[in-house]
């Protein structure tokens, strides 16, 4: 297969990047760990790679009330930050479980949130995929879909969102600062991703020219947390299921509970039913079991991924126990 060439442009600043990215055929690139392999298989074509990796928005700043991560911070720079490890361990745990050390030294946190799905139909140019080629059909629905989503699916797409970091950020109710041609706006991180619906190729709410400037995480009251990732091998693999737990416990009673799951949704998935089952209850194995039983609420599994419903319940129970241990 002959590859479509592209030009290279190194952005001189955020405003310059936004201006360049509003041009047709421009695509933002930072670490390149997702864009380059995808380009090689014809999964994405563009005329000009606008390189953001040299912009200043790469600092990790721990403030009394919040953590501010520049979108261009590399995964390992965040995971290795002593403030992050101490005050936002959920983020460090999710990043430690992400990809390999080599990839974590290249990949950026902003790019991680915007990574494309690992669904093999999306990444094979000769197979049908509505996300890559609208209207071509979803090959996974009646095909190989063991790894596919059980939440948020549509007739047109069942692909999972693969980020670990996103799952932790959803549980921590982080926000994104977004810069574009019309200025800056701030959205809850959970609002970044669109459900596939009838238009799975529209993946995020980012408008043309918009880029993520930073990720803002509140200084959490969660007194305990845990990111638990279940994979087909012990390391360097995407999640079959994963769960991020952030709990606040006072006098043995759960006063706040936030749970999000990865590997199971077309977008990072908040487990509201399980959260409600925890709130106001005593933190003990019975409570955790009851909450875990509700983790599959609303799931729409298919022939070969129905196992994920029970696996998710068990991942929730285990992550709750480990968070509280």
């Amino acid at each position: 297969m002959s590859l479509e060439p592209f030009d290279y442009y190194r952005a001189k600043g955020l405003a310059d990047a936004v201006s360049r990215l509003t041009r047709p055929g421009a695509l933002a690139i930072a670490g390149g760990t997702d864009v380059l392999p995808l380009w090689r298989v014809g999964g994405v074509t563009f005329d000009c790679a606008v390189d953001l990796s040299h912009l200043d928005e790469a600092a990790v700043r721990a403030e009394p009330e919040r953590l501010v991560m520049g979108a261009l911070a590399r995964l390992n720079d965040v995971a290795g930050d002593s403030h992050v490890r101490e005050r936002w361990p959920l983020i460090a745990q999710a990043l430690d479980a992400t990809a390999s050390p080599q990839i974590r030294n290249l990949a950026t946190v902003g790019g991680n949130l915007l990574q494309r799905t690992r669904c093999s139909y999306f990444r094979s140019a000769d197979l049908p995929c509505n996300r890559r080629q609208p209207g071509s059909g979803c090959g996974a629905r009646d095909g190989v879909h063991r790894m596919a989503a059980i939440f948020g699916t549509s007739a047109h797409c069942i692909a999972t969102h693969a980020s670990d970091l996103a799952v932790a950020l959803v549980a921590l109710e982080a926000a994104l600062a977004i810069v574009g041609p019309d200025g800056e706006r701030c959205i809850p991180v959970v609002q970044l991703w669109m459900l596939p619906g009838e238009r799975p190729h529209v993946e995020t709410v980012l408008r043309p020219g918009e880029v993520i400037r930073s990720i803002i995480v509140p200084a959490a009251p969660p007194s305990t947390c845990r990111y638990r990732k279940v994979r087909d091998r012990a390391s360097f693999e995407f999640a079959v299921t994963s769960v991020a737990v952030a709990l606040s416990i006072k006098d043995g009673c759960i006063t706040q509970a936030r749970l999000a799951a990865g590997g199971v949704g077309t977008v990072p998935w908040r487990l509201r039913s399980s959260e409600l089952a925890l709130l106001g209850q005593r933190a003990n194995p019975q409570t955790f079991q009851a909450a875990a039983r509700l983790a599959g609420d609303g799931a729409a599994p298919l022939r070969d991924n129905v196992f994920k419903v029970e696996l998710l319940r068990r991942t929730v129970e285990q992550s709750l126990e480990e968070a509280y241990a």
Binding site: F6, Y8, A49, D51, S100, Q102, I103, N105, A234, S235
Partner: protein, 153 residues
């Protein structure tokens, strides 16, 4: 594909070459600079055979856009081996940490990055932090032995 000038520092030497805007750092290192220790295994960041150091940190050269790394300091196994075997290389030999040897340059550069990252190491930690490097001959146990010896654990 347009070729544009590219300046890098490779194994301590400033080099200038011409590279396609779409070239990976691996392609430049191998095809332009004729440094062939870094291997093209999977070309998608899964095997680690292309591991090199950029400004002291290990990365997959196949995933790195070459022009994005203009001006950076690149180290390959050729640089590590100057003036005799590096301790990691010697340990790989002593522990039979290879069979076919295809993955070995990537393994050693990855281990080199690992040792500079700090933190407490034990065998399990070494195995986890080397998970970005595949060895299809299955020399993993000996690879961990070799790295553990150099790390004095």
């Amino acid at each position: 594909m347009s070729e544009t000038p590219l300046a890098l520092t490779v194994n301590g030497e400033p080099v200038r070459c011409s590279a396609s805007t779409t070239a990976s750092l691996l392609e430049v290192i191998r095809d332009q600079l004729a440094l062939t220790s870094a291997k093209r295994g999977c070309d998608q960041g899964a095997c680690g055979a292309c591991t090199v150091l950029v400004d002291g940190k290990r990365i997959n050269a196949c995933l790195a856009l070459a022009h994005s790394h203009a001006g950076r300091r690149i180290e390959t196994l050729e640089g590590l081996a100057r003036g005799g075997l590096n301790p990691l290389q010697a340990a790989f030999v002593a522990h039979d940490a290879l069979q076919c040897g295809y993955c070995t340059p990537g393994q050693i550069m990855s281990a080199c990055g690992l040792l500079s990252e700090g933190g407490t190491l034990d065998r399990a930690t070494i195995a986890e932090r080397m998970s970005g490097n595949l060895c299809r001959c299955g020399a993993y146990s000996n690879i961990v032995d070799a790295i553990a010896e150099v790390a004095s654990v």
